[in-house]
């Protein structure tokens, strides 16, 4: 046991706990980190290095730890795939295991609780040490009304000796314990990770917006590079003091100190109080260096080889001596922690006295300051020797001169990079991988720059350091996600009729954020069978579908008609009140953006419908043109999508169903013609009925205030029961609309499709200007080989083309790549009405190819031969839309 009998300001000896490491149980105290507890139990080999498989120990006492990587299972059962032992605050019952350089992300969703919080403050102090505490207190004193937030990486405040300088939480200063800033972004935006903010919460991600930021992030001791500098037992000198004073732990029995500066003086005193023999202090400023180390059978440090430097600065081979030691404490100087400063685009300068990069000027966010050690004020450091690396005693083998312990990257790698001609430190970083591990090079980055500088014959300040990037410390995906996962990742929108679909056994599909019934399988029925049944029932009798998700926009104002004339390719100002018109909307580049039926409710009021997934984008599009281009137009647009529930009653029997539901409504083809709408009371509910159709069948779209949606649906099912009314989903809807050649914007089109490509020239006005018109005259918009919408009938009527399949000429040589592509399949279905498969496709010069045969080569071999047809493969004469029956009582076809 290496636990001292007394001492340890961070541990509570009255509260013993037990933890497990690598399957063995050990005692510890509340307040221990996993690293301090392992050292207290003489566990010095705690991990294996990632590539070279070398045993590794605890190198530091803080977030800079490159070596001691462990997996952890918290007492509650939550596991963490990779943590630094120095940053794991022990809990009773915690279990940890050593890693070989990296963890493996859990396949299971982390069960722990993680959340996010936002804070807006006048002053943000990053760092809870003496300087940070003083800065927070001063900020509060200067302006007591300011909100001052202090981020303290430590769980307990160690802000000042005895805690006297610790700012109290509340009263204007809030201290967040166990919280590390991860990144500093534009305009004072800072993210921070808090560990265990409550006993039941594993982690919290803070989003902070600050008017002023004080960096009190301290400094990190850096190592010196020499042969076999990675053995367990070798650690940063200040870490030994931390373990002795903070945790009452003796990290070794016989020590050697290797230093370039005076900050190791108090370490020597701490060793004495802990009863650790100090065999020797090797001070580079006195011309002596550690040149190599020796290990025992377990790979632990056993002895240190020391040599004086000769006149040329090389270790003197003749005067090497060997000193037995199990602890080698290294201090190559101190680097102010400037990563966050640098992320805030503050500039750095190389300080020659300190031999380190220090903050220079703030960047664009001017209310940025550094204080204390972060600003380069390192008390008692004295003069720093220019010793970054000790050459090999003999020969030219640099392969155990580890620079980046976590990446197993060495001085040999650095020399190879520079030998390959790399000069930029950014390139050197990527070539050697130094600084790219989870520790982000906290102990290796500046050292690598200095070694590169000496090899390049440049100043360290001229070489610089690679860009610092967030996150400052590793953060789990679970913590980044917080509660935004599962059902809470994105809102789920359901229609007022949703529960009825669930009761009917609907299979749902996501359309944007909406859940829409895709099909309603009967027991044992496949999707294909269900879709054929639903489509067949709709064409032969009557079907019903929930169309509530359709985007609906209320357009009002005296200039509403003029506005729609400019927005749609076709004319709406001439539309009569009570009538509906299909409209096509383009972007200014001339490409189709959306489509839908818009109805005139009054002289100054229209009801616009949009595709389900595009409703928000269309409203934004309208707002942009109203606000930025046509502020003179007296018109307003408001989303009413969720105001209305829409039930489409579709099929030759639809009139019978609606007549039953709305006895006061004239439902005859003459009294209520196609493409008109009526105010009506349906199933006792006041609403609107539109005679529009997305299937080619006689159809009534019943709109009622959404509160009544479910009632309407049930009433429609009841009224339709004598006619065998069949609920159908989006899949059957797609088949029915595709049989009629109705494109889906975003399925047939892809943002490079004009109305002319869709064969909709008839909907493009020649008499007025509209958004996109001029673009449709561009040479590229009128190329004869543009892809055009056509239908396809596979020669084998049972062959179903995959959507997305490419189409090539019948005589194309498939062995010569690239095979010229003529187009692609956009929609492909089995049709109950046709008794065969069919497809829609966009094909180069497609309308001139009608009657031609093409080939669709299949992934994995084989081809499907198809015949090009017009895009309307069913009822091209539109004889079914009024639902008249012939003398046999069947719909006229």
């Amino acid at each position: 046991m290496s636990r001292l009998a007394t001492g340890g300001s961070r541990i509570d000896r009255a509260r013993p706990i037990t933890f497990e490491f690598d399957g063995v149980a050990y005692p510890a105290f509340v307040g221990d980190t996993l690293a301090s507890a392992l050292l207290a139990n003489d566990v010095t080999v705690v991990a294996t290095s990632i590539y070279d498989g070398r045993p590794r120990g605890i190198f530091s006492a803080g977030p800079e730890e490159p070596n001691a990587l462990v997996g952890v299972e918290w007492p509650g059962g939550t596991t963490e795939s990779m943590l630094r032992a120095t940053e794991v605050e022990l809990l009773d019952g915690l279990s940890a295991w050593p890693l070989a350089g990296r963890g493996r992300l859990e396949a299971e969703v982390a069960p722990g609780r993680f959340d996010h919080r936002h804070a807006h403050v006048e002053v943000l102090v990053i760092g809870g040490g003496a300087s940070g505490s003083a800065a927070a207190i001063a900020a509060h004193a200067a302006n007591p009304d300011d909100r001052v937030l202090l981020l303290d990486a430590e769980p307990e405040s160690v802000g000042a000796p005895g805690g006297s300088g610790v700012p109290p939480s509340g009263a204007g200063i809030e201290r967040l314990p166990a919280t590390t800033a991860l990144g500093v972004y534009d305009h004072g935006y800072v993210t921070a990770a808090q560990r265990h903010p409550t006993p039941r919460t594993e982690g919290r991600l803070w989003h902070i917006r600050a008017a002023r930021i004080v960096m009190a992030t301290g400094a990190t001791e850096r190592p010196i590079v020499f042969a076999n500098d990675d053995r367990p037992g070798i650690m940063l000198a200040s870490a030994a003091s931390s373990y002795i004073a903070g945790y009452g732990v003796r990290p070794g029995t016989t020590a050697v100190i290797f230093t370039t500066n005076d900050t190791t003086d108090p370490v020597a005193a701490d060793l004495a109080t802990a009863g650790i023999a100090l065999a020797e202090t090797v001070d580079a400023r006195r011309g002596e260096v550690v040149v190599d180390t020796l290990a025992d059978d377990a790979g632990r440090l056993r002895a240190v080889r020391i040599a004086p430097l000769d006149a040329a600065g090389s270790p003197d081979e003749a005067r090497v001596r060997e000193v037995a030691a199990d602890l080698l404490l290294v201090s190559g100087g101190w680097n102010p922690n400037v990563a966050l400063w640098s992320q805030a685009r503050g500039t750095l300068r190389f300080d020659d006295a300190l031999q380190a990069f220090v903050p220079d000027k703030p960047g664009p966010f001017r209310a940025l300051e550094a204080t204390g050690r972060a600003a380069g004020v390192i008390a008692g450091i004295g003069m720093v020797a220019l010793t970054w690396i000790v050459p090999p005693l003999t020969g030219d083998d640099w392969s155990t001169h580890y620079v980046d312990l976590q990446r197993d990257a060495t001085a040999a790698d650095l020399r190879r990079a520079l030998g390959a001609g790399l000069q930029s430190i950014e390139h050197v970083k990527r070539y050697t991988t130094i600084g790219t591990a989870a520790d982000q090079g906290k102990t290796s980055g500046v050292v690598a720059s200095a070694i590169a500088a000496s090899l390049l014959g440049q100043e360290v300040g001229a070489v610089g350091v690679p860009t610092y990037r967030p996150p400052l410390i590793p953060v789990s995906f679970a913590q980044l996600a917080g509660r935004d996962r599962g059902l809470l990742l994105d809102p789920t929108r359901v229609t007022p009729i949703h529960d009825a679909h669930v009761a009917l056994g609907a299979v749902f599909e996501d359309v944007g954020q909406w859940k829409r019934p895709r099909y309603y399988p009967k027991p044992g029925e496949s999707m294909d069978d269900a879709v054929l049944r639903e489509g067949s029932a709709t064409r032969s009798a009557v079907g019903v579908m929930d169309a509530s998700t359709l985007g609906k926009i209320d357009i009002q104002g005296p200039d509403a008609g003029v506005f729609l004339d400019r927005v749609y390719t076709n004319t709406f100002s001439s539309l009569k009140v009570g009538s509906c018109r299909y409209g096509l909307m383009c972007r200014v580049d001339g490409m189709v953006f959306d489509d839908g039926v818009t109805s005139r409710l009054a002289d100054d009021r229209f009801h616009m419908t949009t595709t389900t997934g595009n409703a928000a984008a269309v409203l934004d599009h309208l707002e942009e043109w109203i606000q930025t281009e046509w502020p003179d137009l007296r018109v307003r647009a408001t989303s009413v999508t969720e105001h209305w529930a829409t039930v489409a009653v579709v099929g030759p029997r639809a009139r019978d169903v609606v007549a039953t539901l709305a006895p006061d409504l004239d439902v005859t083809a003459e009294g209520f013609p196609f493409m008109t709408w009526r105010d009506a009371v349906v199933a006792g509910i006041a609403g609107r009925v539109f005679r529009i159709s997305f299937s080619g069948e006689l159809a009534y779209e019943l709109n009622v205030p959404s509160w009544y949606g479910r009632s309407l649906w049930e009433a429609v099912l009841a009224a339709g029961a004598p006619h065998g009314i069949t609920p159908y989903g989006t899949e059957a809807m797609h088949v029915l609309r595709a049989e009629k050649g109705y494109p889906i914007i975003g399925q047939e089109t892809d943002g490079t499709t004009t109305p002319q490509d869709l064969g909709m020239d008839g909907l493009v006005s020649k008499k007025k200007d509209f958004i996109g018109r001029r673009s449709q005259r561009r040479p590229d918009s009128v190329r004869p080989d543009r892809k055009q919408l056509v239908g396809l009938l596979p020669v084998d009527p049972d062959a179903l083309l995959p959507e997305g399949a490419q189409l090539v000429a019948l005589d194309a040589d498939l062995t010569r790549v690239p095979v010229p592509m003529l187009g692609h399949v956009t929609s492909s279905y089995r049709s109950a009405a046709l008794g065969r498969t069919f497809a829609l496709a966009m094909i180069k010069g497609g309308r001139d190819r009608i009657g031609e045969r093409l080939l669709a080569p299949m992934v994995g071999g084989g081809t499907i031969e198809v015949e090009v047809t017009g895009s309307v493969v069913f009822d091209p004469e539109n004889r079914r839309r009024d639902g008249e029956l012939n003398e046999h009582g069947q719909p006229a076809t």
Binding site: D620, E623, E624, E629, R773, R774, R778
Partner: protein
């Protein structure tokens, strides 16, 4: 994340906004009078300065108003 000064709502997070690109691009009053090259320039060609740039923003998750602001594209500072 930028802190964008909405003239109606005050400073708000960038995630509440939609970017509208360069401001002050005038819609041609008579598109037919333009050559194809001139029309394409209006459609697609935009300045890309390092330094002050007048831009359009849409406070889509707030007041839903469009407005223009000048921003330094190098420092990201809003200048007015």
């Amino acid at each position: 994340m930028l802190l964008i000064p909405c003239p109606w709502c005050g400073p708000r997070d960038e995630t509440e906004f939609k970017y509208g690109g360069q401001a002050g691009i005038e819609s041609p009053t008579d598109p037919d009078a333009l050559t194809d090259e001139e029309w394409v320039a209006y459609l697609f060609l935009r300045d890309n300065p390092k330094g002050p740039f007048r831009e359009r923003w849409y406070h889509v998750a707030g007041c839903r108003r469009w407005f223009d602001r000048t921003r330094d594209t190098f420092t990201y500072e809003f200048l007015g």
